[in-house]
Structure formats: structure tokens, C-alpha cells
């Protein structure tokens, strides 16, 4: 944080008594509060209320320590001053005695006393200077602490409704009709530890790739309940929202649902919810935001303070609704999708600081993921990285933006605050060799990887549904080098600004590759993924889940896989729906797999996980 500059105490100012020190510091602090030209403090990364409060506490501690230093300096000053006065008096007395007696010995004593007085005076002057510095530092620290405290109060006030959630465990359990996939095929380092089915749609068809096997879930998220001491898992799909307790993380308990009928708005005939592929939540306020892409697009806001009894707070129209992501500590939501014309990679911004009164800005943010200004195509996903950069994926590109903190704006060539509605471009664009690809979602890897520096590698999926793996969408590793905005804003044929494609991965030909002899199934496209250490867990539709080691970003290796084949009811057991994996979420040592046909499978990856293990897996809003 920046500190408001305080006018330093002038050297040589008249001595102060020790008791006045803190009062002086306080006076200096007061005079600094209104400092006119200082840059105000504020988060330079996605500021959380907690971090603002921690900063305020830290600065207050520093201010307290500085005040103590100043008090000690004042005491030393008082002592030095008293000694100087005493020695000066002694010197004066000795001088008088010498003057009166005229004796050499008295004169020598007077000279010695004068020297001591001079030394004491010099020490007092030194103490004065030391005190002046300490007092100024104390005042500056106090001002900084006061500013941080004000900032923390504002942060807290701007995000009302933070809650630890219920302290009372509910008793409601809903019937879960899932069949454990005892026919699953997988690599030796993958264990299948659980399976839940959750909410079913009342409509047997859905627009997922494997239409006849729908419905189930397109995405998951997790909310921690501080008072319960465990997490709740939420999933959205064509049936609506399903909620599980993760008290036993291998065997989630299905505790609540918000059904399609409950989501229906007046006059609507909705038979299924579609679809919210990148479910976003606010763990601090215990809110779920379901985004709807069919019919009237927009956000359902659901309060899950008591996850056994979710409350639908309402529906809010937004022009785009394919996916939505909380940004800036979920003060705002960025919504993307298709259907808005004439804007280059549109993103709609909704202010959800007051969830009773959400507000969507009427003008879309132009994210221009290709950096060419072309207005065709759509946006598909918004994903926040560890540094708070918000990445928009869409037709032909992936581009990151600062939405918080103070940064250099290449468009204006000035440093300014980025906001959700007025973001500052960071890096990204098209990927060389994949310029026309539909880029589905992205994640900037936080650490150095192989020979690539920290924060240089972006992981991207290209979605293209095809049974032929040679044609289907792939997993892409790309370098941001040359695309940071200081190095160019617009990509032109003469001066292309593109990411470099380092490598791609496809399940084709790898262990676990499924080839349907009828040629009707086996979608091979990349879809959603999450990262733990250097291991990517990714959903590949009917190819199931793939684990990739990306330690060498130029040569990713499949190190594990999981897939459930179809099985008709028979002597081996009940019918089992085959894989149609949407994603794979690392979470507290497990991998939860939302599947368009199956519900949720729970896996354990027992292989090595190289690389730095972050405290939390980061995807979607990257809540930490």
C-alpha cells in the first residue's frame, strides 16, 4: 500500500517534553489525513476484506511499534536535555568559581566542566534529531494505519453479507439414485472412490453432445462452511442446482436441490436449465450464481447460508448467459456467451455487491480476444488467475485483463486503477496456429514451467466436438511472450501480436482412447480442466478424464486416465451410463468429475504430482 506522505519534523525544532511526544505524533497524523495529493491506498490485487483488515492490523502494529520508538526517543531526549542542563549548570558554577578564585585548578575544573557540558549539549542535540526522526516515523505510520483502517472499513462495507454460514448441520437427505461405476476403466494411478447422481431433469433430452444420455451436470463448485468445518459441493445442470455435503468427501451426501420448476420465472415454460458451464460461487457470502443461456438469459442468485435449505433470491437479466464468473471478490460478475452482435468479444458486467439490487451495465466491455477488433464470434469463459488477471476466452483468442488495482494502461499510457467496468488489458490474443479455433477456457500457470518463466504459460482448451481425435478440439499450451500490452495493443498482419503455441494434447491414440465401432460416439474434444502442481485434470467428453503432466510445457504427457463405458442392465449389474465428462476439479486431494450423463464421479490420483503445490486450486473466480 502507498503511504500518505507526512511533512517531516524539521530538524532543530525546539525540544519537547517526553509527555508531549505522542500528542505531537497524533497532531501530525491529523494533519496528514487530509493530504491532498497522495494516492489513496487500496488493493493492488483482488482485495479481500480479510486482506484489507490484515493490512490494517499489520500497519497498526507497525504504528504502535513506531509510537513506542518515538516515546523511547522522547525519554532519551528528556534525559539528554536534563543532563545537558545539569552539565551546563555545573560548567557555569565551575566557571564562576574559577573566576572568583583565579586558581589554575579551578580553571581546569571549569574547562573540564565546560567540555562535559558541551558534550552533553551535543548529545542532547543528537537525541533531538533522533527524536525528530522517530516522531515523524510514528506520525507517518499512524497515518498509514488510519488510512488502512478506513480502507478496511470501506472494503467490508462494500461487500455486506459476509457470513460463516450455518452452524447447524441439517438433517435433510435427498434420495440419490447413482450407480457406482464398477465397470470403470482407468490407469493404475487413478482410483474411483465414489459416485453421486443428484438432481435429474424432468426432460429426457438436452443439447449436450450425448443427447440421449442427458441430463446431469456441466460444472461444480465448492463452498466452505467455517462453523461446520467442511465444504459443500454444488453442481448445476439441466435439472437445476444440486447440493451435497462433503463431510465425507468420498461419499457426498445429497442434501438439497433447486429444481427447474423452482427456477421458472412468471410465464415461462422452461423444462430444463441450460446451463452454466462454469458455475461461480461466493464462498464468503455463501451465494451461488446460476447463469442461464436459454430463453431469457441471466443470473439466478441463490443464498446457501443454510445449504440444506437454499433460497432463490431472484433472477436477473443479463444479455449474455453461457458462463459467468465472480471477479473482484465477487463484487462483480462477468458474463459471456453469444447473441450480442456488433461488439468485439463482449463481456457484460453485473454489480452484485448488493444482491437484492443487482445492476448490469448496459454497455458491454469489449474484450477483443483476437486483438483485431473483429466483431464476429462469441465469448465463452471468464477465468481468474492467481495474480487476479481475468482471462476471457472466445472465438479466436484468449485475453487477460486487470480489473482491480493500479496498473499501467497501454491505451492511455498512464497508470490508473483498473475496474470491473473499465479494465486494463494485460496480455494474450490469438494463438499462432490456432487463430480460428474456438478457445473455450484458459488458465495462466502461476509458476515457472520447464524453460518458461513464471506466469508465461497459458493453458487453453479448444472445443470442437468430433469423434475423430485428429479433428477434435485439443488442449493447448501457449506462451504469452510478446503479447503483453506494453509490447503492442493491436494485432495486424504486418505486426502480429499472438501467443506462441508450445504444444497441444489430444487423447487420440493414448491409453484409454475409446473408439466407437459404430462411429456415433467417442467425442474427443477438450473441455474444462483444473490444475494441481504440474498435473492437469481435464474433461474430454466421452473420452472421460485425462491427467497430463505439463512439467515440460513443450511436451505434455498423459500420466493417467479414467473412463466409464456404457453398460446395459444384465448379469453384471444395473445399467450404467457411459462417460461424458464436462470437467475435472481437483479439490482437497480428490478429483470431482461432473458428467453430462452420469452425475459426479469421485477419483483419487495416486501418481506423482510434480511442481509447486498451491494451497488452493485456482479456477473460475480463483477464490483463495
Amino acid at each position: 500500500m502507498r503511504v500518505i506522505p507526512v511533512g517531516r519534523a524539521r530538524r532543530g525544532k525546539a525540544l519537547l517534553r517526553g509527555a508531549t511526544v505522542l500528542a505531537m505524533a497524533a497532531a501530525l497524523q491529523m494533519s496528514s489525513v487530509g493530504a491532498a495529493h497522495a494516492d489513496p491506498s487500496g488493493p493492488v490485487r483482488p482485495g479481500t476484506v480479510g486482506s484489507a483488515e490484515a493490512e490494517a492490523t499489520s500497519l497498526q502494529n507497525q504504528a504502535d511499534a513506531a509510537a513506542k520508538d518515538a516515546a523511547r526517543a522522547a525519554a532519551r531526549l528528556d534525559e539528554a536535555k536534563a543532563r545537558a542542563e545539569e552539565e551546563a549548570q555545573k560548567a557555569a558554577d565551575a566557571a564562576a568559581t574559577a573566576e572568583q578564585s583565579g586558581k589554575i585548578s579551578d580553571k581546569n575544573r571549569a574547562d573540564a566542566a565546560a567540555a562535559q557540558a558541551a558534550q552533553a549539549s551535543a548529545q542532547a542535540a543528537q537525541a533531538q534529531l533522533a527524536y525528530n526522526d522517530k516522531a515523524a516515523a510514528a506520525a507517518q505510520a499512524a497515518a498509514a494505519a488510519a488510512e488502512a483502517a478506513t480502507n478496511a472499513e470501506r472494503e467490508a462495507a462494500s461487500l455486506a453479507g459476509i457470513t460463516d454460514g450455518t452452524a447447524t448441520e441439517g438433517t435433510q437427505t435427498l434420495p440419490d439414485t447413482g450407480v457406482f461405476p464398477d465397470n470403470a476403466t482407468h490407469s493404475d494411478n487413478v482410483e474411483v472412490v465414489g459416485h453421486v447422481r443428484g438432481l435429474l431433469s424432468n426432460n429426457g433430452s438436452c443439447p449436450a453432445f450425448k443427447a440421449t444420455k442427458c441430463p446431469a451436470f456441466s460444472s461444480l463448485n465448492f463452498v466452505h462452511y467455517e462453523k461446520l468445518g467442511y465444504d459443500v459441493m454444488v453442481a448445476n445442470g439441466t435439472g437445476g442446482l444440486a447440493v451435497w455435503s462433503l463431510k465425507d468427501p468420498e461419499h457426498p451426501e445429497y442434501i438439497a436441490a433447486v429444481t427447474v420448476d423452482q427456477l421458472k420465472q412468471p410465464g415461462e415454460t422452461m423444462t430444463q436449465f441450460w446451463e452454466g458451464e462454469n458455475l461461480t460461487v461466493d464462498s464468503r457470502r455463501k451465494l451461488v450464481f446460476l447463469t442461464r443461456d436459454s430463453g431469457t438469459k441471466g443470473l439466478f442468485i441463490i443464498d446457501i447460508k443454510d445449504p440444506w435449505h437454499p433460497k432463490l433470491l431472484g433472477f436477473h437479466r443479463v444479455p449474455l448467459g453461457h458462463t459467468a464468473t465472480c471477479i473482484n471478490d465477487c463484487r462483480f460478475i462477468w458474463s459471456v456467451g453469444s447473441g450480442v452482435r456488433g461488439v468485439s468479444s463482449p463481456v457484460y458486467v453485473t454489480d452484485v455487491r448488493d444482491v437484492n439490487h443487482p445492476f448490469t451495465y448496459s454497455q458491454a466491455v469489449v474484450s477483443d480476444v483476437r486483438r483485431t477488433g473483429v466483431t464476429s464470434g462469441s465469448t465463452h469463459s471468464v477465468d481468474v488467475d492467481f495474480d487476479g488477471v481475468v482471462w476471457v476466452s472466445g472465438s479466436g483468442g484468449v485475453r487477460g485483463y486487470w480489473t482491480d488495482g493500479k496498473h499501467f494502461d497501454p491505451a492511455t499510457q498512464t497508470k490508473r486503477y483498473a475496474t470491473a467496468y473499465d479494465p486494463i488489458p494485460y496480455a494474450g490474443g490469438s494463438v499462432s496456429g490456432s487463430e480460428s479455433a474456438f478457445l473455450h477456457n484458459a488458465y495462466r500457470f502461476p509458476n515457472a514451467l520447464g524453460d518458461r518463466p513464471k506466469g508465461d504459460v497459458v493453458l487453453i482448451t479448444n472445443e470442437n466436438n468430433n469423434q475423430n481425435c485428429a479433428k477434435a478440439g485439443v488442449f493447448i499450451l501457449a506462451s504469452l511472450e510478446g503479447t503483453h500490452d506494453a509490447e503492442g495493443i493491436t494485432s495486424t498482419p504486418e505486426n502480429p501480436v499472438k501467443m506462441t503455441r508450445l504444444a497441444t494434447y489430444s487423447p487420440g491414440g493414448k491409453p484409454g482412447h475409446y473408439v466407437d465401432p459404430t462411429g456415433k460416439a467417442g467425442d474427443c474434444s477438450a473441455h474444462w480442466f483444473t490444475v494441481n502442481g504440474n498435473i492437469v485434470a481435464a474433461g474430454f467428453y466421452e473420452q472421460g478424464v485425462r491427467f497430463l503432466d505439463i512439467s515440460d510445457p513443450s511436451n505434455p504427457q498423459q500420466v493417467g486416465w479414467f473412463r466409464v463405458p456404457d453398460r446395459a442392465a444384465g448379469p453384471d449389474g444395473p445399467a450404467i451410463i457411459g462417460s461424458n465428462a464436462s470437467s475435472a476439479y481437483w479439490h482437497n486431494g480428490y478429483v470431482y468429475v461432473p458428467d453430462y450423463g452420469r452425475g459426479v464421479d469421485i477419483l483419487k490420483f495416486t501418481g506423482d504430482i510434480p511442481g509447486k503445490h498451491e494451497k488452493k486450486v485456482c479456477w473460475n473466480s480463483c477464490e483463495k
Binding site: 495529493h37 489513496p40 487500496g42 462495507a157 462494500s158 448490469t360 486503477y417
Partner: protein
């Protein structure tokens, strides 16, 4: 004209807060409605659906009360021209609450006893409106509070059938901050007079604005010390790119003029009171030009309501005020709830108010209510001064392309 108000720490007004009732809105009272309150419970004509109007029809606020009644009456006329509601003729039952708590309570009781009353609207003064809301809530009758705007008047628990249709002071702050975002504001200077209402508003703006725009200067001008040149200089020393003022119109104009005179090129945004000729005259042409005012929609500032305003004026012999506009939409909303259920059933109709279909719109768009029973998308709009006159700049709705 600005109504005197008192305000508690939660921003609750004692009286209704039309911060800037248009000075140009001069109400000419027609004869008091036929069905005003009496000691006996009034009766609606049989075979009709009736809606109650609770308003001050006597005392110092009777002009506003009559404006409100006329707005409701115009809605009734419009509905009847189209065949009424579910095939039945619509009528009004008006009751005088005298802007008193007891008056609101008694008015609500009378409406409850009145045959065929399917719902009620009105409520100019907070106390009267709250008292009426509690009585009607207990009796299950739908009630739209169309003028009073304290958020504490309604709640899902205490007044389950009552909803606010007028934006609250907190929503005015939200509107101001959203407009600041539209203006790409970075550095905010706030200045307010020492009125509690202004203090509440600026504190709300500061809270809601976090984390950007950053508040770089905050001043509260004590009574009797309104040196606007000094206030402007202090604000500008912090190098803001937006200055927000909450307080009276004349001081607002003086501040806007002082800022421009000092060379300020940034945005000036003022609270609702500045929608006044006093602002324009105090600011002068240069000071006022380009200034923004966050206020509530009115028949005069909403171009979409121009034809309606003309029609109203012709019908009632005076131009409509905000109370009339709010009452007009409120009565239609009550009617829509009946239409959606297909019958007069207070419980069902109350529930339908929270689920009005997309086809029902006001001049600003859809009407929705929040879980706390305040209006979800409120009626605050942005005006700007162009050529010396107020012009609508933005309705702050998602579909506003301006």
C-alpha cells in the same frame, strides 16, 4: 420545494423523501375524490374490483395526496377503457391517512372492511405507510407503497404483503456509483452539507464506491459556513476526476460554478435536490453545463412519459407530479397481479406482485421486487444539463443504450 425530513442512522426518513420535487410542478387540486374516508367503512360498487388509495387528503400534504389519487384514477380509467381487469370494472376507494401513523392504521382498517377491495397503494409519509402496511399485512391485502421510500417500512417478515415501488436512499447512492463507473471515475471528492440525510447519502456512496473510485477528499460543510469557493479549492487540491455533492440545490449550483471557475474539467454529480431551477441559476450557464443529477424519474424528466403527461394534464387540469406517476404504475401492477391469478384472492395476488410477468412494464421497464420487499430495479435516473436545461442522460437500466 423540499420537504423537511428527519433521518435515523439507517437512512430512514420520517416523511417521504422527494428530494427534488419539481419546482415547476404546481398542483391544482380538483375536487376531493368521492370516496374519501368517513367514519363508516366505504363501499365499492358491486360487481367491480376496487383498489384502495391511502394518501394524505387533508393537511399540509393534501396536494401530494391528490396528485397520487389522480395518478391512480388515471390508471383506473385506462384499465376500464381496455375492459377492466378479468372482465370486471375497476374502481377506486380513497382514504385519508392525514400523513399520521394513526391515520395510516385507520385507513388500512377501513380498506380491509371495504367489500371488493383487492389491494391498496399509496403512502406518502413513512409513519402512515408503515402503519398501513402492518395492518394490511396482517389482513393479507396487497399493498404497494408508491411514494414513501424508507427501506425499513417493509420486510418479508413484518409486512409480507407490502412492497416499496420507490427507490430508497441507498439505491440513490448505488445509482450515483454506477454512474461514476460509466464515467470511468478514478478519484472521488465528496462534499455534503451537514444535514443527516446528506451525511447518510455520502457515507453510502463512499461505501458502495469501494474499491474504485478512490475517495481522495471528503468535506462536510457546517451550517452557516458555506464558502463554496473554499470547498471547491479543498476538493480540487486532492485532484479528483469526479466531485459528488449531496445537499441543497442552491449550494450545489454555487459549488459547480466554483469548481468550473477554478478550472476543474472533471465530472460533477449531485444528489436529487439539484434537479431544481435554483441549481441552474446558482451555477450559471458554464457551471451547470454538463453537470449530472441523480434523481428519481418524474413525468417531467422522462421523455417516455411525455404523452402520458399531456393526457394527464388534460384530464385533471394540472400536470402530474411524481406521486401521480408512481401511483399510476402501482395501480396497474396491482391489476396485473389479479390478471395473472385470474381472480381476486389477496394471498395469491400478494404473491403475484413478486412475480409480475415480463409483459408488464412501467415507463422505465420491468417492475420487480427484491427479497427484502424493496423495489429491485428502482426509479433513479441520471439527468444532465444541456443548453441550460435538464435532460435525461440515462435510465440506469440494462437496456439503456444511451
Amino acid at each position: 420545494m423540499q420537504l423537511l425530513t428527519t433521518l435515523d442512522g439507517r437512512g430512514r426518513t420520517r416523511r417521504n423523501r422527494w428530494l427534488a420535487p419539481l419546482a415547476l410542478t404546481v398542483l391544482t387540486l380538483p375536487a376531493v375524490a368521492a370516496c374519501t374516508s368517513t367514519d363508516d367503512a366505504p363501499a365499492a360498487p358491486r360487481g367491480e374490483i376496487a383498489f384502495g388509495v391511502i394518501a394524505p387528503l387533508s393537511g399540509p400534504d393534501k396536494a401530494r395526496g391528490q396528485d397520487l389519487v389522480d395518478g391512480a384514477r388515471m390508471a383506473v380509467d385506462d384499465l376500464n377503457v381496455r375492459g377492466g381487469i378479468i372482465g370486471q370494472h375497476v374502481s377506486l376507494v380513497t382514504v385519508d391517512d392525514e400523513c399520521l401513523d394513526d391515520g395510516g392504521k385507520e385507513a388500512a382498517k377501513q380498506l380491509h372492511l371495504t367489500e371488493k377491495v383487492a389491494g391498496a397503494l399509496g403512502g406518502v409519509c413513512d409513519g402512515a405507510a408503515e402503519a398501513a402496511a402492518r395492518v394490511l399485512g396482517g389482513n393479507g391485502l396487497p399493498f404497494l407503497i408508491t411514494s414513501a421510500n424508507s427501506p425499513t417500512l417493509v420486510s418479508a417478515e413484518d409486512t409480507p404483503t407490502a412492497y416499496l415501488t420507490n427507490g430508497t436512499p441507498h439505491q440513490e447512492a448505488l445509482a450515483a456509483v454506477h454512474w461514476m463507473a460509466y464515467q470511468a471515475a478514478q478519484r472521488l471528492a465528496v462534499i455534503a452539507d451537514d444535514n443527516p440525510q446528506s451525511a447518510y447519502l455520502v457515507n453510502q456512496v463512499i461505501s458502495v464506491a469501494s474499491p474504485v473510485p478512490k475517495v481522495v477528499s471528503k468535506q462536510t460543510l457546517p451550517a452557516g459556513q458555506r464558502d463554496m469557493a473554499a470547498a471547491a479549492a479543498t476538493a480540487l487540491a486532492a485532484d479528483p476526476d469526479v466531485v459528488y455533492w449531496a445537499g441543497p440545490a442552491q449550494e450545489s449550483g454555487q459549488l459547480a460554478a466554483a469548481l468550473r471557475k477554478a478550472g476543474y474539467k472533471g465530472k460533477y454529480i449531485a444528489s436529487a435536490a439539484s434537479e431544481s431551477p435554483d441549481f441552474l441559476s446558482a451555477a450559471g450557464r458554464d457551471g451547470a453545463e454538463g453537470a449530472f443529477v441523480i434523481t428519481t424519474a418524474s413525468p417531467q424528466n422522462l421523455p417516455a412519459a411525455a404523452a402520458w403527461t399531456t393526457r394527464f394534464t388534460k384530464t385533471f387540469g394540472h400536470p402530474p407530479g411524481r406521486d401521480a406517476l408512481q401511483a399510476y404504475d402501482g395501480l396497474r401492477a396491482l391489476g396485473q397481479a389479479v390478471t395473472q391469478t385470474g381472480k381476486v384472492d389477496p394471498a395469491l395476488n400478494s404473491a403475484q406482485l413478486a412475480q409480475l410477468e415480463d409483459g408488464f412494464t412501467t415507463f422505465l421497464g420491468e417492475l420487480r421486487f427484491a427479497p427484502d420487499h424493496t423495489v429491485k430495479y428502482d426509479n433513479h435516473v441520471v439527468l444532465t444539463v444541456k443548453g441550460g436545461a435538464f435532460t435525461l442522460a440515462n435510465t440506469l437500466r440494462s437496456d439503456d443504450g444511451s
